[in-house]
């Protein structure tokens, strides 16, 4: 998709776009200094995650732009310093909007939900299980947007790793209704908004009750409609 132009939204922009479509995100706040980050973390409740917010950074962890498991205000302030140092060293020219402070989400079954524009069929939605299922086994399923509820259910059921979602590993079953709702919502969003050329929610944690998207990468091209939906 590199031949298509467009830009990646920053995470706060992406969250705002998704919030209107009913995509649940952990509680969060944007902070422009170590002090603000620590204060925000105090309000949100520990532990928290810090993530760099910069239009120049798409792969945040590769550039040392993410810090996890921060249990106190001091840890937050220190992590803020490390993130800024790393960014200034690796991308000295980058415009930095601040850091996103997110309440750290509990463990859950991880899935990946995405959307692209197929050159033939237009907007499509993808679903896969996180980790080796997606990366090694390519265990993913697709549907063309918009999705009916039954389409979303079937694309979850056809994953080879489906038993993982229903509790095969001894855990409680994941909330598949919530996951189906998310897939339908993402399908509606990319169907309605032709400027979205690519969207990735990776990972999404699915719990026995509900789910949370932990990262959102959205590429938009204001001039492009892609294949119209």
């Amino acid at each position: 998709m590199s031949n298509e132009s467009g830009r990646f939204l920053t995470e706060p922009e992406a969250i705002e776009l998704l919030a209107g479509s009913g995509v649940p995100y952990p509680e969060h706040a944007l902070a422009v200094s170590a002090g603000e980050a620590a204060a925000a973390a105090g309000r949100l409740g520990f532990p928290v995650v810090l993530k760099i917010v910069s239009p120049a950074v798409v792969h945040k962890s590769d550039l040392g732009g993410v810090a996890l498991d921060l249990a106190g205000e001091r840890a937050v302030a220190e992590a803020h310093g490390r993130i800024m140092d790393s960014l200034r060293a690796k991308l000295p020219e980058a415009v930095i909007h601040g850091v996103l402070v997110c309440r750290q989400a509990p463990a859950g079954v991880e899935v990946i939900v995405g959307a692209t524009r197929d050159p033939v069929f237009g907007p499509t939605v993808m679903c896969g299980l996180g980790g080796v299922f997606t990366e090694i086994l390519k265990d993913v399923s697709f549907r063309v947007a918009p999705l009916a509820r039954i389409d979303a259910e079937e694309m979850i059921q056809e994953l080879r790793g489906y038993p993982v979602l229903t509790g095969a590993r001894g855990g409680p079953p994941a909330d598949l209704k919530a996951l189906a709702r998310l897939l339908v919502a993402v399908g509606d969003l990319v169907h309605r908004r032709p400027e979205i050329v690519e969207l990735d929610l990776n990972p999404v944690r699915v719990y026995p009750n509900g789910l949370l998207a932990l990262d959102a990468r959205v590429r938009v091209n204001e001039r492009a409609g892609g294949v119209s939906g």
Binding site: M1, S2, N3, I112, G114, A115, T116, D118, P119, V120, F121, G122, T124, M126, G128, T134, E135, K138, V140, S141, F142, R143, V144, I150, D151, E154, M155, E198, L199, D200, N202, R217, R219, V227, S228, G229
Partner: protein, 465 residues
């Protein structure tokens, strides 16, 4: 813009043409113009046939005309096999003679980079409100009109399948197999360059064609993805569609900018999009045919439970091996069912399980046992595997297919002439008959998939009463 209804009406007139001019008809059986006229004659076309050839008075025994303009009276359809540069003029003459459409077999248009010539062809057709099939196609065969307007093969066995393909050799396989087995086809259409009429137009036509029960498509790509999916969805609400897509392993040329982008191979999206809209997606030619046959001959299964009944143990085992990978389950017989079968008089050595091994070669035994079993609702589809010639097997199979509550399919294997004759005899009676247990299971899997698609979307509600 032409509407679907107008296009369907035009195709209705094209496929039911009562007069047909073959432009470029030749006495030379090695030339496409000779082969096409020969196919029309051998296919038994009953309308008026006009060979057009400026250098002959007669072609294959029919009076020939120097040009389309010289034809006596009007003509419904022209079949065009002349060099590409002459085609636009042929179209204009045909338009002036009132033709509804032209089957342009000739190549040498956009597939050779001659886009301007194809545009000229299209402009000529539009000027007269004509529709173009092709260019660059083997042709069309519509059996209800005995119109084999194709340079090969001549298929005359009429049956339930309409075959739409983007390849001549695939057309041959997917039409000759059902003809050889006694199943038959309603139509065959080649897509070619699709300058005017395309995959969605033909799909829509056959969706509404009473002579067609199942539509089979071999596609390399589609011209208009969204329209194709919408047409597919409307079609599969009416009848089954089986699709074979070429290029299964070609991974889409996408950069790895994101997981989603790098994982979206175009085949996977294509297959998912077709399934989402009700088409059964097959992986190879044989599966395509098996799925189409089962969808045409098997009554819609109520569920995915399979009971396999065999003359020999091996057949049942082979069927069982494949059942799961095609989404079928093989539940054990209930104790009531086993007792019921014993009471009805099962052969003494029979193994009453699933697969059920009869250890008998008496057709009468099969009939008695299977009818007795059916009362206990042991499965949604019963598959009878005949590993050896079975005296009276065709009659029993036909009776079972009428009387059983469960769906019924047969595999009649081993390669002898006796088995082949048996298969054709059963096929002619409209049974779902396969050459091996594996192929039967594959076909049943397709029928189960489609029935499930319809059930989950409530497509059969209101029809039951």
């Amino acid at each position: 813009m032409t509407t679907d209804v107008e296009t369907r009406a035009a195709l209705e007139r094209i496929f039911n043409a009562r007069s047909l001019a073959v432009v470029g008809a030749s006495n030379d059986p090695r030339k496409f113009g000779g082969m096409t006229l020969d196919c029309l004659i051998r296919g038994g076309f009953e309308g008026r046939l006009y060979p057009v050839n400026p250098k002959a008075d007669q072609v294959l025994g029919l009076k020939a005309y120097p040009s389309v303009s010289d034809l006596p009276g009007e003509v419904d359809l022209v079949s065009v096999i002349v060099p590409a540069r002459f085609v636009p003029e042929v179209i204009r003459q045909a338009g002036a003679k009132g033709a509804v459409g032209a089957v342009v077999h000739s190549g040498g248009f956009s597939e050779q980079g001659e886009d301007d010539l194809e545009a000229e062809l299209l402009a000529a057709a539009r000027e007269y409100g004509m529709r173009i099939l092709g260019p660059n196609i083997q042709g069309i065969n519509y059996l209800p009109n005995k119109m084999c307007c194709m340079f090969l093969p001549v298929i005359k066995t009429q049956g339930p399948l309409a075959v739409i393909t983007q390849s001549g050799s695939v057309t041959t396989a997917l039409t000759e197999w059902p003809a050889d087995e006694g199943l038959g086809i309603s139509a065959a259409v080649n897509l070619g360059n699709q300058a005017d009429l395309g995959e969605s137009d033909y799909l829509d036509f056959f969706a509404h064609d009473d002579q067609t029960k199942v539509i089979v498509m071999y596609l390399e790509g589609v011209k208009n993805g969204r329209r194709f999916l919408e047409t597919l969805r409307r079609t599969t609400a009416l009848k089954p569609v089986v699709i074979l897509k070429a290029g299964r392993t070609a991974v889409g040329q996408r950069s790895a900018a994101s997981h989603t982008g790098s994982l979206a191979s175009s085949y996977q999206v294509f297959a998912a999009a077709c399934r989402q809209n009700g088409a059964y997606v097959a992986h190879d030619l044989e599966e395509t045919y098996d799925a189409a046959k089962a969808l045409a001959c098997l009554s819609p299964p109520r569920g995915n439970r399979l009971l396999s009944v065999s003359t020999s143990g091996g057949a049942g085992t082979l069927a069982g091996d494949h059942a799961e990978s095609y989404g079928l389950t093989m539940p054990l017989l209930s104790t009531e069912a086993a007792a019921g079968v014993r009471e009805a008089g099962a052969p003494p050595l029979a193994i009453l399980s699933n697969p059920l091994d009869m250890v008998t070669l008496s057709a009468e035994d099969f009939q008695r046992v299977i009818l007795a079993l059916d009362r206990f609702n042991p499965a949604d589809v019963i598959l009878l595997n005949l590993g050896d010639p079975l005296e009276g097997g065709a009659e029993v199979a036909e009776k079972l297919s009428r009387e059983l509550t469960a769906g019924f399919a047969v595999s009649y294997f081993a390669g002898g002439q006796e088995e082949r004759r048996g298969r054709v005899a059963m096929q002619r009676q409209g049974l779902a008959v396969f050459a091996t247990p594996e192929r039967a299971v594959r076909g049943i899997g397709a029928a189960v998939w489609y029935a499930d698609y319809r059930r989950k979307r409530g497509l059969d509600q209101g029809e039951a009463s």
